[in-house]
Assembly symmetry: C2
Homo-oligomer: 412 residues x 2
């Protein structure tokens, strides 16, 4: 152990089904090997930390901490907040007051940017603090990691939904003969592509997949739909919320932007439905899973949950080895049998970089993925998590966010 | 056994997660006690039967028949088709050719109408045939039965989704602070109300529930949303696709109608989102589960699946006892401990009648359900179905619809 001091862990960005596995890994590993120092939880990510909203996680019942392994949502609450220079000074000040020497931040691209800036600010100020990022995103768009914890579970849920609603579509001879599933993923099509995992035969869903990595052409789309319809009598389409035309304009652009300036999208599915009904005179139906995609712990991937936990645990190990300014990564071994280990990558290489689906994994017609994608994604959805049930529903836990609240300005 | 002859079973209307359990119950009970007579499956309901599209189910592998117990979608395919008088004559002709003396029809309101007309037509024509309806609908709107097979599983899936996306909503301090879940149910709010099963504390989702049984008032709705938002900082709304205003006009009326003249609805969720954003300046998000609600076998209610199976099995028992012109019903015992038996109700009483949520189960403000609803619905979502998995996904079966095709006009 290189530094004598406490740890702080927080979460940022949209939750995943397994995000709390990483936090659990951090807490349990720290409680085992943190030499008796405290581990604080930042409530609502960096935004809450800046407001002094932190708790001593050592006071939570161990069963609650363990319950994080099967509870969706951000257990410590999350935020979307871009730190300013002022914020960074304030953050260091808070860390000094609490003698925080280990800073663990669990999130996606923007969160890794926050972690990177925190690390830089501490370095410049000469304040010794190990900063480690733990990857988390259903979008799977962090670079320098084979995949991201959270993706496998969302992919499993989407593929299962395509399989089941595909059975529904195929089996009813009504006029609703096109089903569109709108999938999350602002600029990267990993979640949309996951629908392909459901397909076992040519007749089965999905038949067409449209990704944000390639320009969306409405005429080609209508031809694709008509062709499948003529052949099978029904069509299952999976489309990304972030589809763009050849000019880079969103097919369904919203009018608002989030704190990082990213467009808030909605409406691709509804738009495609309208185009099909108007131009092809075929009735269509649109399913929009929305936030269910990133919170469906009830059918999460066991492998994903385990890797999320291991990533959190490894973050503590790296920190206690004296490493800093890095993100934990997942490194997959070559070969047909899936095998994956944790690794590390400098935060500066990760921050704000988006990893998209390789163009070589998208077919020539730009309306489906290749087998390379299936081989990549299939191992990530293996296994199911055992969830304690109560009254017929998952018995998810809640961290007591009022227990052990930190006091930054004690009465002198 | 009163009549010497074969049986025919078919499915109609929108599928449920457990619809095939009923078919499986019919087939397995017939194979056990049908005195060696055949059981045919009508492909695509009455529409397929009229086209001569039937198969000898005895030729399917028993493992495929058993696989119906965990496979969603309509295993025999389904239809939405209103029979004409001509059709009824033709149907009787087909039944005579195949010596069909037992007719099992699995569906909702419209399907019970079809079954009733088939029974009347056979009676008038003096053709001895036992006609039994087997209830099936996620909408839970069939009368004279405590509940309908299919509802419990859809309710469990909706409640789980509300629970999980509620965790997501609560845990992220972004500007998307209203989540709207649009639930199926044309005129009856049973599925919408099921969202209430997720709630354990005042803070938890859902906070507001809007049902089609009572007039929807936009001003009152906006006040409700603002009130919860002021109190908690976030709001979870579950709204029926079939909301109507005080004049009975759909809040989100579609332009098309189905074969039975029912309006095809979509867009309530999106409409409420727009109203909230425009009038209250609060960002909202809308999840539309669509057909996933009626096909989510991966998290079906075990009790529901078992009752669906029993209903099919009981239909055969009733028929072999000489009963006809009835629908199998579910009769719940009085008292706090759930107990339910099958019963029977004349098809003429069921056909085309919709059962809505009693007004006394809706609160005075018309924005939530009472405890009576919870006590009614909670027992129906108990237990989970074990699903065989393959490659990380449910390994659903498919009936071979080309095996043992019936020939109505053999070469003479």
């Amino acid at each position: 152990m290189t530094l004598a001091g406490n740890a702080l862990v927080a979460q940022s960005g949209g939750p995943t089904a397994v995000i709390n596995n990483s936090i659990c890994g951090v807490i349990q590993e720290w409680q085992k090997n943190g030499n008796g120092y405290k581990i604080y939880g930042g409530i609502s990510g960096i935004k809450g930390i800046l407001a002094g909203d932190m708790i001593d996680l050592g006071l939570q019942d161990p069963s609650i901490i363990n319950g994080l392994r099967y509870t969706p949502g951000a257990g410590l609450w999350s935020c979307r907040y871009k730190v300013s220079e002022n914020d960074q000074e304030k953050l260091l000040d808070i860390c000094k007051k609490l003698n925080i020497r280990y800073f663990f931040y669990n999130g996606g691209n923007d969160s890794m940017d926050t972690a990177h800036k925190t690390w830089l600010a501490a370095s410049y100020a000469g304040y010794e603090m190990q900063v480690i990022g733990i990857p988390k995103t259903v979008d799977n768009d962090l670079p320098f990691t084979d995949h991201c914890p959270g993706y496998g579970s969302a992919a499993k849920y989407i593929a299962t939904t395509v399989l089941e609603t595909g059975y529904d579509l195929q089996s009813v001879s009504t006029k609703n003969k096109v089903t569109i599933l709108e999938a999350m993923g602002r600029n990267a099509g990993w979640l949309t592509a996951a629908g392909a995992l459901a397909k076992r035969t040519a007749e089965e869903a999905p038949h067409l997949i449209y990704l944000p990595e390639v320009a969306f052409d409405i005429d080609a789309f209508l031809q694709d739909v008509q062709k499948v319809y003529d052949c099978l009598g029904y069509v299952y389409v999976v489309a990304s919320e972030g589809l763009v035309d050849k000019n880079g304009e969103y097919i369904a652009a919203g009018s608002s932007k989030d704190a990082f300036g990213h467009a808030q999208l909605s409406g691709v599915g509804e738009k495609l439905k309208q185009i099909i009904e108007e131009k092809l005179q075929i009735k269509a139906r649109c399913n929009i899973l929305g936030t269910a995609q990133r919170s469906a712990m009830h059918f999460a991937s066991l492998r994903d949950a385990q890797e999320a936990y291991t990533s959190g645990m490894q973050a503590v190990k790296y920190a206690l080895e004296g490493k800093s300014g890095i993100m934990v990564s997942l490194e997959r071994a070559e070969g047909k049998i899936y095998s994956c280990q944790t690794g590390e990558v400098p935060l500066e290489k990760v921050a704000n970089v988006e990893k998209k689906i390789p163009l070589s994994w998208i077919n020539e017609e730009h309306n489906y993925v290749t087998d390379e994608f299936i081989q990549y994604a299939q191992p990530l959805i293996e296994g199911e998590v055992a969830i304690p049930m109560k009254n017929g529903l998952p018995n998810y836990i809640t961290i007591d966010r009022d227990l052990g609240k930190v006091t930054l300005n004690p009465v002198e």
